[in-house]
Structure formats: structure tokens, C-alpha cells
């Protein structure tokens, strides 16, 4: 084999795939039952890039040749870059050999669109099929569904892959029209709808026949680029919520736009990646999925933007001071989950531990509650609690004053006059 060429291809096609932020390898339950290679039951990050992102899968494009010209994409037709394409066998060999050395959990295969949607999708499916049927590979496979691919191919993809995803790319249809005139939102939504129905159908089948074949056991996900178009957080989170509710998405990913083009329609090349905003969006997403918040409690017409200084839960709490303080020894789990500074695990521990004895500040601290934030919102088995009648703004100032945000590069400091 020509290793130098393989190395060069890997460089080009990994580099082009890295803007896809999803790297989850959890949520599947594929076991190693055939005494073959691997299983896909536990999400593991095998290493982390220098920008701190998890590397769990071999994430590559089959090719970066593309007939489309989407402004935000490095692989767009009009971009003058090196092009390359892997053969099906090359991808299979790389996956198997990386997996055997415990480098990865599996494969995340996407592709630029060459010729047409079905032609591309057929190649992706062929890689997955080969891994599963010829190499007894039970590791994780995430296939990108090409917008506009036929139902038959989507069906076959679901039989071999653990997860399928179609990228929404832009939070709204207008944004997509502006930056990706060749793409059509309907082409993206159609396969999502098909997958959703197949996933539901399959769950029903599984109830009746234990041996029914698996169909994308880790479900489907999607991704939106943030900050390339003028949509606000209100738009973005309502879109995300819609896809969680109507398409049974496992995850919606938010990808802060990394400037890669001097196209007039996009933020300039020297614009910073909106990392704080991306982080706040993920926090809001977690609130919707794990903390029982409704999307309109986090953002709505009067609060269209997430506060960049503080997390969305704290921001919700100081807008709703009438609900606090909460007695930690009596409140329901659902109420405790809404207290700033208390995570899911701490909340569950609190509810269990208080059956044995009433909890005080020391107990809460040891359980893992961030007291510096929580103390404005709770009472516990102690006479010490916040007695001042503080407004939300006061609390925000106090908390900001004593915390050092990891994002706040220039600390505000007083001017020294003398």
C-alpha cells in the first residue's frame, strides 16, 4: 500500500471533517456476541484535542469533492483546496486497525456530495456493511445521512449504523437560503421524518420479537452552526426544542462558527469563535433535557438572548426570585433541580441523604453543591441563611464578584488613582 498517500488523504479528510462537532459514542447497546471485534455500549473519549474536544471516533470524510457551494463549509465547490477520496477498503482498514489498538470507539463517516445524494449515500452504507458483515465489527458507527438520499438507502444505513444524523446546518430556513442556496431544508427534514418513523416502528417490533434486527440503536442527531447567521438564541433553542419534540432527536449539537472564508455574507476572518455563546446554548440544552425546564422558561420574547456572564439556570432563577428560598430538606426533586449550583447528581444525593438526617451547609458542601451560588436560593438545617432581601441584580453582582469566569480574559479592575 502507498502509505504516504494514505497519510496525506487522512490529513485532508480528517481536517475537513473536524467541524462536525458530534463525537458521541454512547447510547448504543451493540454487544460482542459473535466473538468478533468490539462492542458499542459505553461512550469513551480516547483522547482530547488541544482545543479540549473529545476524540472518540475516527471522524473522516469519504471525500471532500463536493458539488455544492455552501458558504460556511471548507469543502465548498468554489474553495481552492486539495481534494482527496478514500476507497471503501481504505476506510475499513483504518477503522479496524485503529480500533484494535484501542485508539477509537468506532467510525464517524461523512462525505462531500459527489455526483448525487444516492450515489454518495450508497458508498457510505457500503463501508458500514463491510465492517459489520465481513469483519464482525461491533464497534460504534455513525453515518451522516446525505440530504435527499432515498428511503431504501436510509433503511439499509439504519441496519448497520448505530447513529444516523442529518445536519440542519442553519437554525432557520432563511439562514440556509442565504448561505447554502443549493440546499433545501425539505431534503434534510424528509430523511429525519423517515428515520423517526422507522425508529418508532422498530421499537414496536422489538417488543414483539426479541430477535428483531437492530435499527440505529443510538437514534438520530443533528447539528446547527451558530453565529454565521443573525438568528438569536430564542430562534435557536426553539428550533432545537422542535427537533427534540417532533423528531425524537437524541441530541442537537451547536457548532460555533469558525471563520474559514472571506465571503461577504459571513462574519469576517478575524472574528472570534463564539465559544461562550456555544457553551451557554449547551447549558440551556441540558436544562431542557435533564432538568425539566421548558424552552420558554429559558428564552422567550422578552428574553431573546442567553446571558453570557452567568449560566442560564442562574439567569432563570434571578428572574423568578418569588420562588425562592427553597427548603432543601423538604422540596421535591424537581424543585431542587432548579436551584442554581445544584446538579443532577447532587440533587439525587440530597433527596436520598435527607431521609437519614436533616442536611446542613457542611453536608451540602460535601455532597458537591456549589454553595457560593446556591446559598442565595436555599435554606437548610442551619440558622445561617441569606436574610437580606436581595434583588436578582444584587445576587448576580455578588456571584460575579467572587467567581472567576474561565472566559473572562480581562478581569475588571479598579483604577488606582495614586
Amino acid at each position: 500500500m502507498d502509505w504516504d498517500r494514505i497519510q496525506e488523504k487522512l490529513q485532508i479528510l480528517a481536517d475537513a471533517a473536524k467541524y462536525d462537532v458530534s463525537c458521541a459514542s454512547s447510547g448504543s447497546k451493540r454487544k460482542n456476541e459473535n466473538n468478533g471485534l468490539g462492542n458499542a455500549s459505553n461512550g469513551i473519549c480516547h483522547t482530547y484535542t488541544e482545543d479540549g474536544r473529545c476524540v472518540s471516533l475516527l471522524k473522516i470524510l469519504l471525500t471532500n469533492h463536493c458539488i455544492f457551494d455552501c458558504a460556511y463549509c471548507v469543502s465548498r465547490k468554489s474553495n481552492d483546496i486539495k481534494r482527496a477520496a478514500f476507497t471503501v477498503q481504505e476506510v475499513v482498514d483504518l477503522t479496524i486497525n485503529f480500533y484494535r489498538r484501542n485508539y477509537i470507539e468506532g467510525l464517524f463517516l461523512s462525505s462531500g456530495i459527489f455526483k448525487d445524494a444516492d450515489f454518495t449515500m450508497e458508498r457510505l452504507v457500503r463501508v458500514a456493511k463491510k465492517l459489520r458483515t465481513e469483519h464482525n465489527f461491533n464497534g460504534y458507527i455513525h453515518l451522516k445521512s446525505i440530504p435527499g438520499a432515498s428511503d431504501e438507502l436510509m433503511q439499509e444505513a439504519g441496519l448497520y449504523a448505530d447513529r444516523l444524523s442529518v445536519n440542519l446546518e442553519m437554525p432557520t430556513e432563511e439562514g440556509l437560503k442565504l448561505l447554502a442556496p443549493d440546499k433545501n431544508r425539505q431534503d434534510m427534514i424528509k430523511p429525519m421524518g423517515y428515520l423517526k418513523n422507522q425508529l418508532i416502528l422498530h421499537t414496536e417490533e422489538k417488543k414483539l420479537f426479541k430477535k428483531a434486527p437492530m435499527f440505529a440503536p443510538a437514534g438520530q442527531s443533528t447539528q446547527m452552526v451558530i453565529g454565521a447567521t443573525p438568528e438569536n438564541d430564542h430562534h435557536i433553542l426553539f428550533t432545537a426544542n422542535h427537533f427534540y419534540k417532533s423528531f425524537n432527536m437524541k441530541r442537537v449539537y451547536y457548532s460555533g462558527y469558525v471563520p474559514i472564508s472571506n465571503d461577504k455574507r459571513l462574519p469576517g476572518l478575524n472574528t472570534a469563535v463564539p465559544m461562550v455563546r456555544e457553551n451557554r446554548l449547551y447549558q440551556a440544552d441540558w436544562l431542557m433535557r435533564f432538568y425539566g425546564f421548558k424552552v420558554n422558561e429559558i428564552v422567550n420574547d422578552s428574553v431573546p438572548h442567553l446571558d453570557l456572564d452567568i449560566d442560564p439556570k442562574l439567569s432563570w432563577a434571578i428572574r423568578n426570585m418569588q420562588l425562592f428560598p427553597v427548603d432543601i430538606n423538604k422540596a421535591d426533586l424537581q424543585v431542587i433541580l432548579r436551584i442554581p449550583g445544584i446538579g443532577v447528581l447532587s440533587a439525587q444525593k440530597i433527596v436520598k441523604a435527607r431521609l437519614f438526617s436533616k442536611l446542613n451547609w457542611e453536608n451540602l458542601k460535601q455532597i458537591g453543591v456549589a454553595i457560593n451560588r446556591a446559598r442565595y436560593f436555599i435554606t437548610c438545617n442551619s440558622n445561617a441563611f441569606e436574610r437580606r432581601d436581595l434583588t436578582g441584580t444584587n445576587i448576580k453582582q455578588f456571584i460575579l464578584a467572587e467567581s472567576q469566569s474561565k472566559y473572562l480574559k480581562n478581569k475588571p479592575s479598579q483604577l488606582s488613582l495614586f
Binding site: 482545543d51 484494535r100 464482525n136
Partner: protein
Amino acid sequence: MITTLFYDGSFEGILTAVFEIYARKLKHVKLLPNGTYSGAMFTDELTIITDDNRARRVLQGLTRKIASAGVQRLYAAHLAEILEEDNPIVGYMRYVFDNDKNIEDDYGNRYVLRISEIVRMVRREKHRMEAFIRFKKLKDETFYATVDPDFNVLPLILKHFRKRYADQKWIIYDTRRAFGLYYDLHQVEYITLDFSEEGVGKSIVSKYESDEGIYQVLWKEYFKSVNIGSRKNNKLHLRHVPKRYWKNLTEKL
């Protein structure tokens, strides 16, 4: 009066110690491994001789009062090899036996909380090993990896690797504790390798298969290519991949 108990460092040793505590109606105890110096002058000292029968009785007693997952957690905590005079495992077991109800979720108790902290540390190390182990393919098709974990987690990762790599022979060797796991396509055994000049260990692991170097280069290349320079965040990187693991990570060499 405080009684200092000396034991052999094994989990059965701890269980036997708990048996003695109840048999002798001891109240305040310290637990130290054999050969250490208790440091105090006016204490009783007692050397625990590990007794499988007594250990089993204590274990059975535990399984009657807490869930079997809870007993496994205590074993995991033991693998942390943390030496604390007021041994949290002993404290926890006594708290179990002295209470009528199941105390597993009583996080207000310091032993319960401490055990949950230790278990969390051990499980994190276990998870890190499942992530950071890098196999190298030897001439005889065996995949070989060395590790240097903070805690003795090999017994905990055995199952994961046996299930995952069922169709390849592999060795995972703990260089700090000088023993390893060997899977021969049928079962996993504990092994020790002799790494001295004339020892077999050295000659076995020095012969890599011809493609091995190439895949290491490809992996390093991949690792470099997926990085997004404009998002560099070294602090976060180091938190996820602390430097002490780098010596066994192909991509960081």
C-alpha cells in the same frame, strides 16, 4: 484506648479485621498495613491474620444488609490503596452492621461520603484506563500495552477488555505494580513478566509487527488534523489528559 490493627493489605484482610473488631468488642481502632509503625506509644496492637472463613462470614453479613453493588463499591474503594488510619472501609462496614436499616445513601455520614468519593476516584481511573490504553501489535499477533495507573484498577478493567477484544490476544501490563493481564483468546490470566536483560519479557515486547509503526504515525497524524487551532484551550486539554498519562499515549509521544 485505641487498638491498632495490622493487616496484610488484602480485601480479605480488611474483612477479617472487621470480624475481630466485633469478636473482641473493640471500640476505637486504627488499621495499618503490616510493617508500618503506628507511631503512638500507649495503644494496644493486634496483628490480623487473614482468615478466609471469617472474611466470608463478614462478606455474607454485608450482602444481607446492603446491595451487592454496594459490596462491589467497597472492593473498588479497597483497590484505591489509600492508607488512612481511620480506615473508611472499616468505618463503613461498622456503620452498616451497627444500623438496622440500609445506610448506603446516608451521605450525611462521613464514611459513606468518603467511600463515595474514593469510589468515584477509582472509577474515574478505571474509565481513564479504558480510554488511554494503547495497544501495540507484536510479531506473534498479540496486542501489548503498558499502563501506570494511580490505583490498582486492572481487576476492574478486565471484563471490559475481554468483552471488547474477544478475537485478538492481548496483554495489559501495570508497570508500577509489576503484574499484568493476558488474554489468550479463551480466558484472562494474571501474569508477571521478567524485564531484566536476559528475561523473557524484554524479548517478547521488543518485536513489533511491521505495520505497527505505520499505524502509530497515522494515528498521530489524525490527532493533529482534528485539532482546531483557533479554539485552542490548553487548560481544558490538560484537565482531560493529565501529563502523567502521556508516557503511554501514542499521540502524545
